[in-house]
């Protein structure tokens, strides 16, 4: 009996392409997508592009920049030239760097302030007025600023070994003099403390360490802090993914209606196929708008997502996203022959689009290649739009690329759905 049941199961699986795809193709596809995304992360071959503003123009700042540029992990830009050539354009200003961060072009920039070279010391107590190197950051990327900060500290030592040796001898003379046993003990304790990471030397503070460059990370987009980036990312990412699922499922009502005969009855009425599709599309769009609104209102109520202050941008993105998602749902429904086929195909497509398009893992943490590949997905454009609104505080006019793509996709989806729906018309 078990053998017979196994045989029946095997025959069913062999003849059910959707089940085969869900069982074998989908896991392999997901494995490949995430292996590509995270494999690139592990390679450490991806360079971080860093605009560097040299307000100091000293020998010290010049040597720092040269040493930063020599770092394999960084791609340093000091001029305004768009091709990042160091010989074209004008030197970057703080405003230029902030603009690049706000536009989302870069996640991190370095500002070497005036007077940095003159006040620089490797060791010893530092003045409170010592200029501080600023790391301008888009903190929605939590990794890049920390990498730049670490490398900056590293090159501040390795870039000038001669200066470091001289200052070390001065420090020795200042603290040690002719070493007595007591002094030797004292110096040894101090060095031990430093080696163990304890730093209770006088006049040191977290923003002005005894060693290295005094640095601070400046949140360019949200100087007052807040977690809107993460919340808006997850609200948009999750919202768009489930919007696609609900639109695909809602579009499947066409298949139910075909099976039950109500579609034939609808087509016998005055509406015609265009009317039926238009009605379905508008319904799915309104449903999608409601779904996204609920998601963001929940985010505002529970997670302090600043919805009220970004309402116009939210409305624009929600209407455009829901319109395109509704069209996507209709394409799938008109393309598929059954509910079962629709469920399988939509699951595979939507999960793949969500993985590549940034609904599951932020695109800005992916490699450049994966980020470009992500742009073929619906999710990427919708998420970029929402992040522009909620994170980059972009004006409505800045949403035009996302608006154009989503509107274009809507038109393509509706055209394709109309074409595929011909099979239900009088033939």
């Amino acid at each position: 009996m078990i053998g017979t049941l196994l045989h029946i199961g095997w025959i069913n699986l062999r003849r059910d392409r959707v089940a085969q795809a869900m069982t074998f193709a989908l896991p392999i596809m997901f494995f490949s997508i995430f292996a590509t995304i995270f494999g690139h992360q592990a390679n450490a071959t991806q360079k971080i592009h860093v605009p560097v503003v040299d307000e100091d123009r000293s020998e010290y700042s010049g040597r720092l920049i040269k040493a930063l540029a020599a770092e394999g992990a960084l791609d340093v830009q000091t001029m305004t030239s768009p091709d990042h050539s160091q010989r074209q354009g004008t030197p970057l200003t703080r405003a230029d760097a902030e603009g690049l961060i706000k536009a989302g072009t870069d996640a991190v920039a370095v500002v070497l302030p005036k007077g940095l070279g003159e006040a620089h010391r490797f060791f010893g107590p530092t003045a409170a007025s010592r200029p501080t190197v600023q790391i301008l950051a888009d903190v929605s990327d939590p990794i890049a600023p920390q990498i730049v900060l670490g490398l900056l500290q590293k090159v501040s030592f390795t870039a000038m070994p001669d200066t470091m040796a001289r200052e070390g001898i001065e420090m020795f003379e200042q603290y040690g003099g002719p070493l007595t046993p007591a002094q030797r003990d004292s110096t040894q304790r101090w060095l031990t403390d430093l080696a163990q990471g304890r730093n209770d030397a006088p006049n040191t503070a977290s923003a002005s360490p005894a060693f290295g460059l005094p640095t601070e990370i400046v949140n360019v987009l949200h100087p007052n802090g807040g977690s809107a980036a993460t919340i808006s990312f997850y609200a948009a990412g999750t919202g768009v993914m489930f919007l696609l699922f609900s639109c695909a499922s809602g579009g499947g009502a066409l298949l139910d209606e075909e099976e039950s005969g109500t579609l034939g009855r609808l087509l016998s009425g005055r509406a015609g196929m265009e009317g039926v599709l238009a009605g379905k599309w508008i319904y799915l769009m309104l449903l999608g708008m409601a779904q996204l609104t609920v998601m963001f209102v929940w985010g505002a109520l529970v997670f302090q997502l600043p919805l009220a202050s970004h309402l116009p941008g939210f409305v624009v993105m929600t209407v455009l996203t829901a319109a395109a998602a509704a069209g996507f749902g209709l394409v799938l429904a008109t393309l598929c022959r059954s509910r079962q086929q629709l469920a399988g195909i939509s699951t595979i497509l939507i999960l793949a689009m969500s993985a590549v398009g940034g609904s599951m893992f932020p695109r800005f943490l992916m490699s450049e290649t994966m980020q470009k590949i992500g742009l073929i997905t619906f999710n990427a454009w919708a998420l970029d739009g929402y992040l522009k609104v909620f994170w980059r505080e972009a004006p409505l006019t800045a949403l035009w690329p996302q608006a154009a793509v989503l509107l274009g996709l809507t038109a393509v989806f509706l055209g394709a759905a109309r074409l595929f729906a011909r099979r239900w018309e009088a033939l």
């Binding site: 039950s260 005969g261 109500t262 034939g264 009855r265 016998s268 009425g269 005055r270 009088a426 033939l427």
Partner: protein, 311 residues
Amino acid sequence: MATPAVPPLVVRNAEKRFGAVRALAGASFELRRGELLGLLGPNGAGKTTMIKGIAGRTRLDGGDVVLLGRSLGPTDPRPDIGVVPQELAVYKRLTARENLTAFGRLAGVPASAIRSRVDWALQWSDLEERANEPTERFSGGMKRRLNIACSLLHAPSVVLLDEPTVGVDPQSRARIYEMLAALQRTGVSIVLTTHHLEEAEQRCERIVIIDRGTIVASGTVAELVRASVGASKRVTVALAAPWPDGPAVPAGAELDESRRTISASVTDVGSELTTLLGRLAAAGVRIADVKLAGATLHDVFIALTGRELRE
């Protein structure tokens, strides 16, 4: 409404191919005002294609559909036709009233009239008491009645029903035919397809039999019988004991395998039946029962379309 001189529906030389299959091969028939016309045929004969062709849900390759005297193009609207599909084409989560309202609006019933039309439909289909229940709770017969009512809200002159009584019990079928009779009395003309030949024989004024895409016969049941199997009647004689081995079975009569039943066809009942019974008495057999039956629509159907399976 059609005038008596103009038939509400005329189909001439309807042609339709699906690839190599010729679903309609020049089929023609006419529907009269207030008539209930049965469109019969084996599976795959072309009945549903014919219904869809008339309703505009299938584009005919050739031929003509004339509705109320006006020849229809393939995309012309057909507001005077109500189509009842074979499937239960209602929304199961909507109530009967909500279904009727929705389909009434889609059929173009004015907003001012929709409520009264829905009330009429609920009364006509005997669903008033369950009007506000989701249809998923309905029995098969109730769903069938609602399915028909949903197609009548715009008060069509011609109603096409594709197997309206499939899958329902005899009581529900009887109720559906009562509903159709009430419609007929208002002058509505009805075409229905069915595999229930006895019902068609009892309920339909005229029968059209279609096979392999062509109309093989049409007329009243009596006309069809005369034209196909003739006016002879079948005599069945049950014997009290098995037919004895000695005497021969009378000429023209057939003895079944149990040797307890003899049957024969008679045209002149008065003389031929008497002769047969006399010969049986002469053979020494005792008669237990005698049945006399005329040819039925079933006989006509089999005679015209054969016994071979079509699918």
